[in-house]
Symmetry: C2
């Protein structure tokens, strides 16, 4: 799997004077069914993630504030600035992702196509590179 600019998906956004609403329909707006959702609040400057998944697809939406996501396929890095819920980032399996929280109000909502499986995580970067080589 590789990570491309097309992994940034524009979401249906409904704005009025009360605020905004974005909708993510599983198997439609995003290319998988939603089995699990997690919500991360972190302090400004914190770095989270720093792992890859063997099988799990993730879709990341910055619900509030600003978050930078760096995705790597082991060869190329792409940096994404998520500063609005209007766009979400599809992180396919086999991609190393690192999230930096740029503001104190930053909230990351992540939708996954698999339930939690401890063995699906690759937490070591050297192991990730080996995994990538094995898939070529």
């Amino acid at each position: 799997m590789s990570i491309k600019k097309k992994n940034l998906i524009e979401l249906p956004l409904y704005e009025d004077n009360r605020g905004s609403l974005v909708v993510i329909e599983g198997e439609d707006i995003i290319p998988f069914s939603i089995k699990r959702v997690f919500i991360v609040n972190a302090n400004v400057g914190e770095i989270r993630g720093e792992h890859a998944h063997k099988k799990c697809n993730q879709f990341m939406v910055c619900a509030s504030g600003k978050i930078e996501v760096i995705c790597s396929d082991g060869v190329t890095d792409i940096k994404y600035l998520l500063d609005s819920p209007s766009h979400g980032l599809h992180v396919p399996p086999g991609i190393w992702a690192k999230e930096q929280y740029l503001t104190n109000d930053a909230v990351l909502t992540v939708l996954c196509d698999r339930h939690y499986e401890k063995d699906d995580y690759i937490n070591d970067y050297e192991e990730f590179l080996k995994f990538q080589r094995g898939n070529k």
Copy 2:
């Protein structure tokens, strides 16, 4: 359907010095599969919602800030203060829900067991009461 205090569900919460993470597993932590997710940002004091669903289950998590949710089955109102992502509120079909955004950083994440269907919404309170009477 009636709304009860037990509709407030404690979520697995992982906290450390970097921040916090809550997980919502579909068909496990919440009693339905997740077909759709929406994220609402609103200004302080704004009231949203004010409708019921005929079939759709919703699960509301206040991802940031504070939100008050008032749920009504047409007879009894219950007021919930969502001031942490550590608890989410299951709003079953046939319940009128109104959300008031109490802080400017308030973000509501809502998980649904159905895709968007215009006809599933009851936007008029009198019509809601008729719907409730018809279901008794």
